[in-house]
Symmetry: C2
Subunit: 252 residues, 2 copies
Protein backbone atom coordinates (compact mmCIF):
# COMPACT_ATOMS: atom_id res chain seq x y z
CA UNK A 1 0.00 0.00 0.00
CA UNK A 2 2.27 2.84 -1.11
CA UNK A 3 1.25 6.11 0.42
CA UNK A 4 1.55 8.20 -2.69
CA UNK A 5 -0.35 11.44 -2.13
CA UNK A 6 -1.31 11.51 -5.78
CA UNK A 7 -2.61 7.95 -5.72
CA UNK A 8 -5.67 8.24 -3.51
CA UNK A 9 -9.08 9.36 -4.63
CA UNK A 10 -10.32 12.54 -2.91
CA UNK A 11 -13.38 12.30 -0.68
CA UNK A 12 -15.66 14.82 0.91
CA UNK A 13 -16.22 14.03 4.58
CA UNK A 14 -19.34 15.20 6.39
CA UNK A 15 -20.94 14.63 9.75
CA UNK A 16 -24.63 13.88 9.98
CA UNK A 17 -26.52 14.05 13.24
CA UNK A 18 -29.22 11.87 14.67
CA UNK A 19 -30.53 14.16 17.42
CA UNK A 20 -33.09 12.39 19.55
CA UNK A 21 -35.37 13.71 22.24
CA UNK A 22 -38.59 12.66 23.93
CA UNK A 23 -41.56 14.93 23.38
CA UNK A 24 -45.14 14.22 24.31
CA UNK A 25 -44.31 10.64 25.16
CA UNK A 26 -42.81 9.99 21.73
CA UNK A 27 -39.25 9.55 20.56
CA UNK A 28 -38.50 12.39 18.16
CA UNK A 29 -35.61 13.25 15.89
CA UNK A 30 -34.46 16.57 14.54
CA UNK A 31 -35.06 16.99 10.82
CA UNK A 32 -34.15 19.90 8.57
CA UNK A 33 -35.60 20.76 5.22
CA UNK A 34 -33.17 20.73 2.33
CA UNK A 35 -32.99 24.02 0.48
CA UNK A 36 -31.31 22.78 -2.62
CA UNK A 37 -30.87 19.95 -5.02
CA UNK A 38 -30.69 17.04 -4.74
CA UNK A 39 -33.65 16.15 -2.58
CA UNK A 40 -34.69 19.80 -2.53
CA UNK A 41 -37.56 20.39 -0.15
CA UNK A 42 -37.19 16.98 1.41
CA UNK A 43 -36.43 16.40 5.05
CA UNK A 44 -32.95 15.30 6.03
CA UNK A 45 -30.77 14.90 9.05
CA UNK A 46 -28.75 17.97 10.02
CA UNK A 47 -25.11 17.86 9.07
CA UNK A 48 -22.31 19.47 7.19
CA UNK A 49 -18.76 19.28 6.01
CA UNK A 50 -15.90 18.55 8.32
CA UNK A 51 -13.49 21.44 8.21
CA UNK A 52 -9.85 21.03 7.37
CA UNK A 53 -8.54 21.57 10.88
CA UNK A 54 -11.32 19.93 12.81
CA UNK A 55 -11.68 16.57 14.49
CA UNK A 56 -14.77 14.50 13.70
CA UNK A 57 -16.22 14.94 17.17
CA UNK A 58 -15.54 18.66 17.03
CA UNK A 59 -17.37 18.91 13.76
CA UNK A 60 -20.32 17.01 15.19
CA UNK A 61 -20.39 19.23 18.27
CA UNK A 62 -20.26 22.33 16.12
CA UNK A 63 -23.12 21.17 13.93
CA UNK A 64 -25.13 20.25 17.00
CA UNK A 65 -24.61 23.71 18.46
CA UNK A 66 -25.52 25.38 15.19
CA UNK A 67 -28.77 23.45 14.87
CA UNK A 68 -29.94 23.31 18.46
CA UNK A 69 -27.78 25.54 20.62
CA UNK A 70 -26.86 22.52 22.70
CA UNK A 71 -23.40 21.97 23.97
CA UNK A 72 -22.07 18.44 23.74
CA UNK A 73 -20.72 16.38 26.60
CA UNK A 74 -17.84 14.01 26.63
CA UNK A 75 -19.01 10.57 25.58
CA UNK A 76 -18.42 8.88 28.93
CA UNK A 77 -19.65 11.59 31.25
CA UNK A 78 -23.20 11.48 32.54
CA UNK A 79 -25.49 14.21 31.30
CA UNK A 80 -25.10 17.48 33.11
CA UNK A 81 -27.18 20.57 32.92
CA UNK A 82 -28.10 22.04 29.60
CA UNK A 83 -26.00 19.77 27.43
CA UNK A 84 -26.50 16.78 25.25
CA UNK A 85 -24.88 13.40 25.00
CA UNK A 86 -22.93 13.01 21.78
CA UNK A 87 -21.24 9.92 20.44
CA UNK A 88 -20.10 8.61 17.12
CA UNK A 89 -22.62 6.29 15.51
CA UNK A 90 -21.30 4.83 12.27
CA UNK A 91 -19.87 5.86 8.93
CA UNK A 92 -21.69 5.64 5.63
CA UNK A 93 -19.74 5.66 2.41
CA UNK A 94 -21.65 4.01 -0.39
CA UNK A 95 -20.21 5.43 -3.62
CA UNK A 96 -23.71 6.33 -4.80
CA UNK A 97 -25.11 7.73 -1.59
CA UNK A 98 -24.69 11.27 -2.92
CA UNK A 99 -25.38 11.57 -6.64
CA UNK A 100 -22.94 14.43 -7.14
CA UNK A 101 -19.71 13.23 -5.66
CA UNK A 102 -18.05 10.81 -3.31
CA UNK A 103 -19.13 11.73 0.20
CA UNK A 104 -18.34 9.79 3.32
CA UNK A 105 -20.54 10.72 6.23
CA UNK A 106 -19.58 10.06 9.82
CA UNK A 107 -22.92 9.91 11.59
CA UNK A 108 -23.18 10.91 15.23
CA UNK A 109 -25.90 10.26 17.76
CA UNK A 110 -27.03 13.02 20.12
CA UNK A 111 -29.49 12.62 22.97
CA UNK A 112 -31.06 15.77 24.37
CA UNK A 113 -33.75 16.75 26.87
CA UNK A 114 -36.95 18.19 25.48
CA UNK A 115 -36.13 21.61 24.07
CA UNK A 116 -38.30 24.65 23.53
CA UNK A 117 -37.90 24.77 19.76
CA UNK A 118 -35.44 23.81 17.09
CA UNK A 119 -33.56 26.37 15.12
CA UNK A 120 -31.87 25.92 11.81
CA UNK A 121 -29.68 28.94 11.42
CA UNK A 122 -32.52 30.93 12.92
CA UNK A 123 -35.05 29.67 10.44
CA UNK A 124 -37.57 27.67 12.43
CA UNK A 125 -39.71 26.66 9.48
CA UNK A 126 -36.87 24.59 8.10
CA UNK A 127 -36.32 22.49 11.18
CA UNK A 128 -38.62 20.40 13.29
CA UNK A 129 -38.84 17.61 15.79
CA UNK A 130 -40.64 14.70 14.21
CA UNK A 131 -41.55 11.35 15.74
CA UNK A 132 -39.06 8.84 14.45
CA UNK A 133 -41.85 6.49 13.53
CA UNK A 134 -43.18 9.14 11.20
CA UNK A 135 -39.79 9.87 9.68
CA UNK A 136 -39.13 6.20 9.08
CA UNK A 137 -42.50 5.56 7.49
CA UNK A 138 -42.04 6.00 3.81
CA UNK A 139 -44.81 8.01 2.21
CA UNK A 140 -48.07 8.84 3.99
CA UNK A 141 -48.83 11.92 6.00
CA UNK A 142 -47.72 13.13 9.39
CA UNK A 143 -49.88 14.21 12.27
CA UNK A 144 -50.29 17.75 10.98
CA UNK A 145 -51.18 16.61 7.48
CA UNK A 146 -47.75 17.34 6.13
CA UNK A 147 -46.70 14.94 3.44
CA UNK A 148 -43.93 12.68 4.59
CA UNK A 149 -41.56 11.77 1.85
CA UNK A 150 -38.72 9.46 2.79
CA UNK A 151 -35.70 11.20 4.23
CA UNK A 152 -33.07 12.40 1.78
CA UNK A 153 -30.00 10.35 0.85
CA UNK A 154 -29.54 7.31 3.09
CA UNK A 155 -30.70 9.24 6.11
CA UNK A 156 -33.53 6.84 6.88
CA UNK A 157 -30.94 4.12 7.34
CA UNK A 158 -28.80 6.38 9.50
CA UNK A 159 -31.76 7.40 11.63
CA UNK A 160 -32.83 3.81 11.98
CA UNK A 161 -29.35 2.82 13.13
CA UNK A 162 -29.27 5.70 15.58
CA UNK A 163 -32.61 4.80 17.08
CA UNK A 164 -31.55 1.20 17.44
CA UNK A 165 -28.34 2.30 19.14
CA UNK A 166 -30.28 4.44 21.58
CA UNK A 167 -32.78 1.68 22.28
CA UNK A 168 -30.12 -0.85 23.10
CA UNK A 169 -27.82 1.51 24.93
CA UNK A 170 -30.31 2.62 27.55
CA UNK A 171 -30.56 -1.03 28.53
CA UNK A 172 -27.12 -1.23 30.00
CA UNK A 173 -26.16 2.38 30.62
CA UNK A 174 -27.52 5.43 32.38
CA UNK A 175 -27.92 7.15 29.03
CA UNK A 176 -31.67 7.57 29.40
CA UNK A 177 -30.95 10.39 31.84
CA UNK A 178 -29.59 12.36 28.88
CA UNK A 179 -33.22 12.74 27.78
CA UNK A 180 -34.19 14.22 31.14
CA UNK A 181 -33.75 17.69 32.59
CA UNK A 182 -31.06 18.05 35.26
CA UNK A 183 -33.54 17.10 37.97
CA UNK A 184 -36.19 14.53 37.27
CA UNK A 185 -38.45 12.00 38.92
CA UNK A 186 -38.45 8.25 38.63
CA UNK A 187 -41.71 8.47 36.72
CA UNK A 188 -40.25 10.89 34.21
CA UNK A 189 -37.31 8.58 33.67
CA UNK A 190 -39.69 5.68 33.23
CA UNK A 191 -41.64 7.58 30.60
CA UNK A 192 -38.38 8.08 28.73
CA UNK A 193 -37.81 4.34 28.63
CA UNK A 194 -41.39 3.80 27.59
CA UNK A 195 -41.13 6.32 24.77
CA UNK A 196 -37.81 5.05 23.47
CA UNK A 197 -38.79 1.40 23.62
CA UNK A 198 -42.41 1.92 22.77
CA UNK A 199 -43.61 -0.31 25.58
CA UNK A 200 -45.31 0.08 28.95
CA UNK A 201 -43.26 -0.67 32.03
CA UNK A 202 -44.48 -1.60 35.49
CA UNK A 203 -44.01 1.52 37.62
CA UNK A 204 -43.30 -0.48 40.77
CA UNK A 205 -40.68 -2.77 39.32
CA UNK A 206 -39.08 0.12 37.47
CA UNK A 207 -38.90 2.14 40.66
CA UNK A 208 -37.31 -0.75 42.51
CA UNK A 209 -34.77 -1.27 39.75
CA UNK A 210 -33.55 2.29 39.32
CA UNK A 211 -33.53 3.24 42.98
CA UNK A 212 -31.89 -0.02 43.89
CA UNK A 213 -28.97 0.34 41.49
CA UNK A 214 -26.13 2.01 43.40
CA UNK A 215 -24.82 5.20 41.82
CA UNK A 216 -27.53 5.46 39.21
CA UNK A 217 -29.72 8.10 40.86
CA UNK A 218 -28.92 10.48 43.68
CA UNK A 219 -31.81 12.22 45.45
CA UNK A 220 -31.64 15.98 45.49
CA UNK A 221 -33.98 16.24 48.47
CA UNK A 222 -36.64 18.15 46.58
CA UNK A 223 -39.99 16.93 45.38
CA UNK A 224 -42.30 17.94 42.59
CA UNK A 225 -45.91 17.46 41.58
CA UNK A 226 -45.46 18.61 37.99
CA UNK A 227 -46.74 15.27 36.77
CA UNK A 228 -49.80 15.40 39.01
CA UNK A 229 -50.63 12.94 41.72
CA UNK A 230 -48.60 12.35 44.80
CA UNK A 231 -45.40 14.41 45.01
CA UNK A 232 -42.39 12.58 43.64
CA UNK A 233 -38.80 12.72 44.78
CA UNK A 234 -36.39 14.56 42.53
CA UNK A 235 -33.15 12.92 41.46
CA UNK A 236 -30.04 13.77 39.55
CA UNK A 237 -28.03 11.31 37.46
CA UNK A 238 -25.43 9.60 39.62
CA UNK A 239 -21.87 8.90 38.64
CA UNK A 240 -22.56 5.37 37.41
CA UNK A 241 -22.62 5.19 33.63
CA UNK A 242 -23.04 1.44 33.36
CA UNK A 243 -26.05 -0.47 34.56
CA UNK A 244 -25.20 -3.91 35.85
CA UNK A 245 -27.33 -5.93 35.71
CA UNK A 246 -28.98 -4.13 32.82
CA UNK A 247 -32.51 -2.87 32.54
CA UNK A 248 -34.32 -5.55 30.61
CA UNK A 249 -36.31 -4.57 27.59
CA UNK A 250 -39.57 -6.53 27.61
CA UNK A 251 -40.14 -9.07 24.88
CA UNK A 252 -42.37 -8.12 22.01
Amino acid sequence: MPYDPSAFPPFAVTVDLVVLTVRRHALCALAVRRGESPFQGRWALPGGFVRADEDLSQAAARELAEETGLRAHEPDAPAQEGGAHLEQLATYGDPKRDPRMRVVSVAHLALAPDLPAPRAGGDASNARWAPVEELLTQGGYGRDGESVAPLAFDHAQILSDGVERARSKIEYSSLATAFCPPEFTVGELRRVYEAVWGVALDPRNFHRKVTGTPGFLVPTGGTTTRQGGRPAQLFRAGGATLLNPPMLRPEV
Copy 2:
Protein backbone atom coordinates in the same frame (compact mmCIF):
# COMPACT_ATOMS: atom_id res chain seq x y z
CA MET B 1 -24.77 24.20 4.24
CA PRO B 2 -24.30 24.94 0.57
CA TYR B 3 -22.98 21.93 -1.28
CA ASP B 4 -20.43 23.74 -3.38
CA PRO B 5 -17.99 21.16 -4.70
CA SER B 6 -15.16 23.64 -4.47
CA ALA B 7 -15.96 24.53 -0.86
CA PHE B 8 -15.03 21.34 0.94
CA PRO B 9 -11.58 20.25 1.95
CA PRO B 10 -10.39 17.01 0.34
CA PHE B 11 -9.76 14.00 2.56
CA ALA B 12 -8.08 10.69 2.05
CA VAL B 13 -10.21 7.84 3.33
CA THR B 14 -8.72 4.55 4.42
CA VAL B 15 -9.88 1.40 6.11
CA ASP B 16 -7.84 -0.09 8.92
CA LEU B 17 -8.46 -3.59 10.18
CA VAL B 18 -8.43 -5.03 13.65
CA VAL B 19 -8.21 -8.73 12.84
CA LEU B 20 -8.51 -10.84 15.94
CA THR B 21 -8.02 -14.53 16.47
CA VAL B 22 -7.31 -16.87 19.34
CA ARG B 23 -3.98 -18.67 19.23
CA ARG B 24 -2.43 -20.75 21.96
CA HIS B 25 -5.04 -19.60 24.43
CA ALA B 26 -4.31 -15.90 23.79
CA LEU B 27 -6.20 -13.20 21.96
CA CYS B 28 -4.04 -12.12 19.02
CA ALA B 29 -4.25 -9.38 16.43
CA LEU B 30 -2.79 -9.18 12.98
CA ALA B 31 0.01 -6.64 12.67
CA VAL B 32 1.99 -5.65 9.60
CA ARG B 33 5.37 -3.97 9.49
CA ARG B 34 5.46 -0.60 7.83
CA GLY B 35 7.87 -0.39 4.93
CA GLU B 36 8.05 3.34 4.65
CA SER B 37 7.97 6.62 6.45
CA PRO B 38 6.42 7.69 8.69
CA PHE B 39 6.73 5.03 11.35
CA GLN B 40 8.99 3.02 9.03
CA GLY B 41 9.75 -0.41 10.48
CA ARG B 42 7.08 -0.08 13.12
CA TRP B 43 4.13 -2.41 13.45
CA ALA B 44 0.74 -1.19 12.37
CA LEU B 45 -2.72 -2.49 11.66
CA PRO B 46 -3.32 -3.63 8.10
CA GLY B 47 -5.26 -1.21 5.95
CA GLY B 48 -5.32 0.85 2.84
CA PHE B 49 -7.09 3.43 0.77
CA VAL B 50 -10.71 3.13 -0.15
CA ARG B 51 -11.01 3.07 -3.90
CA ALA B 52 -13.13 5.52 -5.81
CA ASP B 53 -15.89 3.06 -6.71
CA GLU B 54 -15.88 0.97 -3.58
CA ASP B 55 -18.12 0.88 -0.52
CA LEU B 56 -16.45 0.99 2.88
CA SER B 57 -17.37 -2.58 3.72
CA GLN B 58 -16.12 -3.70 0.32
CA ALA B 59 -12.80 -2.00 0.93
CA ALA B 60 -12.52 -3.65 4.32
CA ALA B 61 -13.35 -7.06 2.85
CA ARG B 62 -10.80 -6.55 0.10
CA GLU B 63 -8.07 -5.60 2.54
CA LEU B 64 -8.96 -8.56 4.72
CA ALA B 65 -8.68 -10.92 1.78
CA GLU B 66 -5.39 -9.40 0.70
CA GLU B 67 -3.86 -9.78 4.13
CA THR B 68 -5.27 -13.09 5.25
CA GLY B 69 -7.02 -14.79 2.36
CA LEU B 70 -10.21 -14.80 4.42
CA ARG B 71 -13.55 -14.07 2.92
CA ALA B 72 -15.83 -11.84 4.92
CA HIS B 73 -19.35 -12.68 6.03
CA GLU B 74 -22.34 -10.48 6.21
CA PRO B 75 -22.39 -8.65 9.54
CA ASP B 76 -25.50 -10.37 10.89
CA ALA B 77 -24.91 -13.89 9.67
CA PRO B 78 -23.34 -16.44 11.97
CA ALA B 79 -19.86 -17.58 11.04
CA GLN B 80 -19.81 -20.22 8.36
CA GLU B 81 -16.98 -22.26 7.06
CA GLY B 82 -13.71 -20.61 6.17
CA GLY B 83 -14.82 -17.04 6.52
CA ALA B 84 -14.45 -14.27 9.02
CA HIS B 85 -16.88 -11.98 10.75
CA LEU B 86 -16.43 -8.39 9.62
CA GLU B 87 -18.10 -5.29 10.98
CA GLN B 88 -17.45 -1.61 11.08
CA LEU B 89 -15.80 -0.49 14.28
CA ALA B 90 -15.40 3.28 14.39
CA THR B 91 -13.92 6.15 12.41
CA TYR B 92 -10.83 8.07 13.37
CA GLY B 93 -10.21 11.49 11.94
CA ASP B 94 -7.98 13.58 14.13
CA PRO B 95 -6.39 16.20 11.86
CA LYS B 96 -2.95 15.24 13.12
CA ARG B 97 -3.31 11.48 13.11
CA ASP B 98 -1.25 11.26 9.93
CA PRO B 99 1.57 13.79 9.74
CA ARG B 100 1.47 14.06 5.97
CA MET B 101 -2.12 14.80 5.14
CA ARG B 102 -5.70 14.66 6.27
CA VAL B 103 -6.65 11.02 6.52
CA VAL B 104 -9.91 9.68 7.88
CA SER B 105 -9.75 6.01 8.69
CA VAL B 106 -12.82 3.83 8.97
CA ALA B 107 -11.69 1.02 11.23
CA HIS B 108 -13.26 -2.42 10.89
CA LEU B 109 -13.22 -5.36 13.23
CA ALA B 110 -12.68 -8.88 11.91
CA LEU B 111 -12.88 -12.08 13.93
CA ALA B 112 -11.29 -15.17 12.45
CA PRO B 113 -10.57 -18.75 13.46
CA ASP B 114 -6.98 -19.65 14.07
CA LEU B 115 -5.19 -19.59 10.73
CA PRO B 116 -2.10 -21.37 9.53
CA ALA B 117 -0.03 -18.25 8.88
CA PRO B 118 -0.50 -14.64 7.97
CA ARG B 119 0.51 -13.31 4.63
CA ALA B 120 1.15 -9.72 3.72
CA GLY B 121 1.17 -9.74 -0.03
CA GLY B 122 3.08 -13.00 0.18
CA ASP B 123 5.73 -11.60 2.48
CA ALA B 124 5.35 -13.43 5.76
CA SER B 125 8.12 -11.61 7.58
CA ASN B 126 6.17 -8.40 7.42
CA ALA B 127 3.03 -9.73 9.05
CA ARG B 128 2.42 -11.59 12.28
CA TRP B 129 -0.14 -12.55 14.84
CA ALA B 130 0.76 -10.86 18.10
CA PRO B 131 -0.99 -11.11 21.45
CA VAL B 132 -2.99 -7.94 21.87
CA GLU B 133 -1.57 -7.48 25.32
CA GLU B 134 1.86 -7.31 23.78
CA LEU B 135 0.82 -4.88 21.07
CA LEU B 136 -0.87 -2.59 23.56
CA THR B 137 2.09 -2.55 25.94
CA GLN B 138 4.19 0.39 24.97
CA GLY B 139 7.90 -0.36 24.88
CA GLY B 140 9.37 -3.55 26.33
CA TYR B 141 9.99 -6.79 24.51
CA GLY B 142 7.72 -9.47 23.17
CA ARG B 143 7.90 -13.17 23.83
CA ASP B 144 10.48 -13.83 21.14
CA GLY B 145 12.73 -10.99 22.22
CA GLU B 146 11.54 -8.70 19.51
CA SER B 147 11.42 -5.08 20.57
CA VAL B 148 7.89 -3.82 20.80
CA ALA B 149 7.54 -0.20 19.90
CA PRO B 150 4.05 1.24 20.16
CA LEU B 151 1.89 0.72 17.11
CA ALA B 152 2.09 3.35 14.38
CA PHE B 153 -0.32 6.28 14.14
CA ASP B 154 -3.28 5.95 16.50
CA HIS B 155 -3.47 2.24 15.89
CA ALA B 156 -3.05 1.38 19.55
CA GLN B 157 -6.25 3.26 20.23
CA ILE B 158 -8.02 1.55 17.35
CA LEU B 159 -6.84 -1.87 18.47
CA SER B 160 -7.90 -1.13 22.01
CA ASP B 161 -11.36 -0.11 20.84
CA GLY B 162 -11.64 -3.20 18.70
CA VAL B 163 -10.65 -5.52 21.53
CA GLU B 164 -13.15 -3.88 23.82
CA ARG B 165 -15.85 -4.26 21.18
CA ALA B 166 -15.07 -7.95 20.83
CA ARG B 167 -14.99 -8.47 24.58
CA SER B 168 -18.36 -6.91 25.10
CA LYS B 169 -20.00 -8.32 22.02
CA ILE B 170 -19.40 -11.97 22.83
CA GLU B 171 -21.40 -11.36 25.97
CA TYR B 172 -24.69 -10.92 24.23
CA SER B 173 -24.15 -12.47 20.82
CA SER B 174 -22.96 -15.72 19.35
CA LEU B 175 -19.94 -13.95 17.90
CA ALA B 176 -17.45 -16.07 19.81
CA THR B 177 -18.18 -18.85 17.34
CA ALA B 178 -16.48 -16.71 14.71
CA PHE B 179 -13.20 -17.59 16.44
CA CYS B 180 -13.91 -21.30 16.09
CA PRO B 181 -13.58 -23.67 13.16
CA PRO B 182 -16.84 -24.76 11.51
CA GLU B 183 -17.20 -27.62 13.97
CA PHE B 184 -16.07 -27.19 17.53
CA THR B 185 -16.65 -28.48 21.02
CA VAL B 186 -18.09 -26.72 24.02
CA GLY B 187 -14.67 -26.74 25.60
CA GLU B 188 -13.10 -25.08 22.58
CA LEU B 189 -15.74 -22.39 22.67
CA ARG B 190 -15.13 -21.91 26.37
CA ARG B 191 -11.42 -21.47 25.77
CA VAL B 192 -12.29 -18.72 23.29
CA TYR B 193 -14.23 -16.87 25.95
CA GLU B 194 -11.44 -17.39 28.42
CA ALA B 195 -8.83 -16.06 26.00
CA VAL B 196 -10.84 -13.04 24.94
CA TRP B 197 -11.84 -12.10 28.46
CA GLY B 198 -8.64 -13.25 30.12
CA VAL B 199 -10.50 -15.10 32.86
CA ALA B 200 -11.20 -18.71 33.81
CA LEU B 201 -14.75 -19.95 33.47
CA ASP B 202 -16.39 -22.86 35.21
CA PRO B 203 -16.63 -25.65 32.59
CA ARG B 204 -19.85 -27.04 34.06
CA ASN B 205 -21.76 -23.78 34.23
CA PHE B 206 -20.48 -22.77 30.81
CA HIS B 207 -21.63 -26.06 29.35
CA ARG B 208 -25.06 -25.65 30.89
CA LYS B 209 -25.35 -22.11 29.59
CA VAL B 210 -24.39 -22.65 25.97
CA THR B 211 -26.18 -25.96 25.51
CA GLY B 212 -29.26 -24.61 27.24
CA THR B 213 -29.64 -21.55 25.02
CA PRO B 214 -31.96 -22.48 22.16
CA GLY B 215 -30.51 -21.94 18.70
CA PHE B 216 -27.00 -21.18 19.89
CA LEU B 217 -25.40 -24.54 19.21
CA VAL B 218 -26.59 -27.41 17.05
CA PRO B 219 -24.93 -30.79 17.49
CA THR B 220 -23.47 -32.30 14.37
CA GLY B 221 -23.57 -35.81 15.77
CA GLY B 222 -19.83 -36.30 15.64
CA THR B 223 -17.36 -36.31 18.48
CA THR B 224 -13.69 -35.55 18.80
CA THR B 225 -10.88 -36.15 21.22
CA ARG B 226 -8.53 -33.58 19.73
CA GLN B 227 -8.37 -31.80 23.06
CA GLY B 228 -7.61 -35.02 24.93
CA GLY B 229 -9.72 -36.54 27.63
CA ARG B 230 -13.21 -37.81 27.17
CA PRO B 231 -14.63 -37.43 23.66
CA ALA B 232 -16.58 -34.25 23.26
CA GLN B 233 -19.62 -33.59 21.14
CA LEU B 234 -19.11 -31.47 18.05
CA PHE B 235 -21.35 -28.50 17.38
CA ARG B 236 -21.94 -25.95 14.72
CA ALA B 237 -23.11 -22.39 15.33
CA GLY B 238 -26.89 -22.25 15.35
CA GLY B 239 -29.01 -19.61 13.75
CA ALA B 240 -29.35 -17.49 16.88
CA THR B 241 -27.11 -14.44 16.73
CA LEU B 242 -28.27 -12.87 19.99
CA LEU B 243 -27.78 -14.39 23.40
CA ASN B 244 -30.62 -13.66 25.74
CA PRO B 245 -29.98 -13.64 28.61
CA PRO B 246 -26.35 -12.80 27.89
CA MET B 247 -23.28 -14.68 28.94
CA LEU B 248 -22.05 -12.86 32.00
CA ARG B 249 -18.47 -11.73 32.11
CA PRO B 250 -17.13 -12.41 35.62
CA GLU B 251 -16.20 -9.46 37.77
CA VAL B 252 -12.53 -8.58 38.05
